[in-house]
């Protein structure tokens, strides 16, 4: 038997051992079982519906109430939409991936305080170097530096929390809350210590929101998210195996530690992207990852990841649309998402505790 290259492409079936030859009858090729076929059809239907919803939300957001200089308005809205698509995809993918490698369905990078960590890194960089030096630097270079620091510290945080494995879920949730609050308090402490001019610069970058995003940063972020999505799609079959846990993954020939490490780097990058663009949206990831699994009824990443991303885009764009056009409010989407997500999070915790 020869080792197959570690590609998710259909590897040739290894030369059948005598047992294979004997245990498999020379029957007609077997397809999926009826129940499996039904399940696949359902998954496809759900994905199609979610895609339609996302497209409808995007179209609605672009076109409803378009008056005056429509070219200008459309350009403005397109940029907003692009931001929401990038952020939604980043949040959805990072949450699903994080749940896979940590082996639970309750924790997400947001819950574990990863986005607060990124805010802290941003604040500390301004604190250490001063806004003047930073404003003369290339924003993309600055972002790259922040992401690098994020990968480093998020990795350390992960080791600290999940290092020896088998931690109790509630200890982890508690640790996440504590770390999130700690990072948040440290950032606000640091932002009080820096001089007022620096603080204004910092605030601009921290509370960007969906309205005023730097186009350069957006393009770079879109590129990063697209690269992460392609990488994840290629890895999907192995991620399915990793979701079974370390022992099963090793037994089935997947280099568990290597996959986990790479996934963590990607998660750190994705969290950086979404936080840099719009700040922390703590519970969005949890909401869409769980909903995606429930709606599609599967755990397979090839289905769950796109479903979660579509859901995230729908929630962000649709929510923003409803807020702006129906309630004529302009800002509080993250408040509503965090409220709904927070309630859902508590419900999940209660359900887990009954298992």
């Amino acid at each position: 038997m020869t080792p197959s290259p570690p590609s998710p492409a259909p590897a040739p079936v290894s030369p059948a051992s005598p047992a294979t030859a004997r245990t498999s009858p020379p029957a007609a090729p077997r397809g999926l079982s009826p129940a499996q076929t039904a399940a696949r059809h359902r998954e496809r239907r759900v994905l199609a519906v979610l895609a339609l919803l996302a497209v409808a939300a995007v179209a609605g957001f672009c076109l409803i109430g378009l008056t005056g200089d429509w070219e200008y308005a459309l350009g403005l809205r397109t940029r907003k939409i692009a931001t929401m698509i990038v952020v939604g995809t980043a949040v959805a993918c990072s949450s699903v991936l994080f749940q896979t490698v940590t082996g639970n369905r309750v924790l997400t990078p947001g819950v574990m305080g990863f986005d607060q960590l990124f805010v802290l890194i941003q604040t500390l960089i301004v604190f250490l170097f001063g806004a003047l030096t930073l404003s003369s630097a290339d924003p993309r270079l600055l972002f790259a530096g922040q992401v690098a620091a994020m990968v480093l510290f998020a990795g350390a945080l992960y080791r600290l929390l999940f290092g020896r494995g088998g931690r109790d879920l509630y200890v982890l949730v508690l640790a996440g809350v504590v770390f999130g609050t700690l990072f948040g308090s440290l950032s606000s402490l640091a932002s009080r210590l820096i001089n007022p001019n620096d603080f204004v610069v910092l605030q601009d970058s921290l509370f960007a929101g969906f309205n005023q995003v730097d186009p350069d940063l957006l393009a770079l972020s879109a590129l990063l998210v697209a690269a992460a999505a392609v990488w994840t799609a290629r890895l999907a079959p192995r991620l399915d195996v990793v979701a079974l846990g370390r022992d099963h993954a090793l037994n089935l020939g997947v280099h568990h530690a290597r996959v986990v490490n790479r996934v963590l780097v990607v998660v750190a990058v994705l969290v950086s992207v979404s936080t840099a663009l719009v700040g922390p949206v703590t519970f969005l990831g949890l909401l869409v990852a769980s909903l995606a699994r429930q709606l599609t009824g599967t755990f397979r990443h090839g289905t769950v990841l796109p479903a979660a991303a579509l859901l995230a885009v729908t929630v962000l764009v649709g929510g923003q649309l409803v807020l702006e056009r129906v309630f004529t409010m302009d800002t509080a989407l993250s408040v509503i998402i965090n409220f709904a997500g927070g309630v859902y999070f508590i419900a999940l915790l209660i359900r887990e505790s009954r298992r």
């Binding site: 051992s17 004997r22 195996v241 089935l252």
Partner: protein
């Protein structure tokens, strides 16, 4: 052939494996017996590269398990540990189908599906095969896991307590299945068994461990004696011959 040379494993101050050397010949069923905390499960985990050894080497057909690429090893050796908590929600058929991953990389061929169905039928899992089992009975889950490992169709199959949670009928059925794998398909089955009588009735070789060391190894006839069992378990065990098998009696 599985060759274990001077393998040691420590957790902190506790020595779990203390220089274990052991050779397991290809073919046949080998049972590893011993009291709790004798190091049986750890030895199985080290051999199957789930736990790295602190010292010593393990080779399977000449491949060092510490350095051989995992995917290559996965087509030669399959392992099932005792505690198999899954955090994902999947059907029995999906779980069993994972056994084909090392061969097909996630895309099942018709031949793969045949093997999956055969294993599902054999373990009488057909009725639940497509159900999402959120809280399956321990026995069903155990059978599904063993079915997955057997689907991997490897030369070496390592099982830690395969009879966990199984009732008598399914235990006997499981043992017969493992026996048949060795006899008909030439597989090498190594399992940790708690019940000496199952080991006695269904294995060719028995390895006895105590306090992190192998204390005795031999054929079933050699091992199933009051003297050996007493030394292994610190317990008086009468051995009777019933229906051509040696049965240890330790219930009084």
């Amino acid at each position: 052939m599985i060759e274990i040379k001077d393998v040691t494993k420590r957790y902190g101050e506790t020595v779990v494996l203390d220089g274990v050397s052991l050779t397991i010949a290809p073919g046949g069923v080998t049972s590893v017996i011993g009291a709790n905390d004798a190091g049986k499960s750890t030895l199985l985990s080290v051999v199957s590269r789930l736990v790295p050894a602190d010292g010593g080497t393990v080779t399977v057909d000449g491949m060092d398990v510490a350095t051989t690429p995992g995917d290559r090893l996965a087509r030669r050796l399959a392992v099932l540990r005792q505690d198999n908590h899954l955090s994902v929600r999947l059907t029995v058929r999906e779980l069993v189908a994972f056994g084909r991953f090392p061969h097909s990389g996630g895309r099942l061929t018709a031949a793969d599906r045949d093997l999956v169905e055969e294993a599902i039928d054999h373990f009488e899992l057909g009725d639940l095969a497509d159900r999402h089992l959120d809280q399956p009975s321990g026995g069903q889950w155990q059978r599904a896991h063993v079915a997955m490992v057997l689907c991997q169709d490897t030369d070496y199959v390592l099982l830690d307590e395969p009879l966990n949670n199984l009732d008598m009928r399914h235990s006997a059925q499981m043992m017969r299945r493992l026996r048949r794998m060795a006899d008909d398909y030439g597989k090498t089955v190594v399992m940790v068994v708690h019940d000496v009588n199952f080991a006695s009735c269904h294995s060719d070789t028995i390895v006895a461990m105590k306090d992190g060391s192998v204390v005795a190894q031999g054929t079933t006839v050699e091992m199933m004696t009051p003297e050996v069992l007493n030394a292994v378990y610190d317990l008086d065990i009468d051995v009777h011959e019933i229906g051509g098998h040696r049965i240890g009696v330790y219930f009084s």
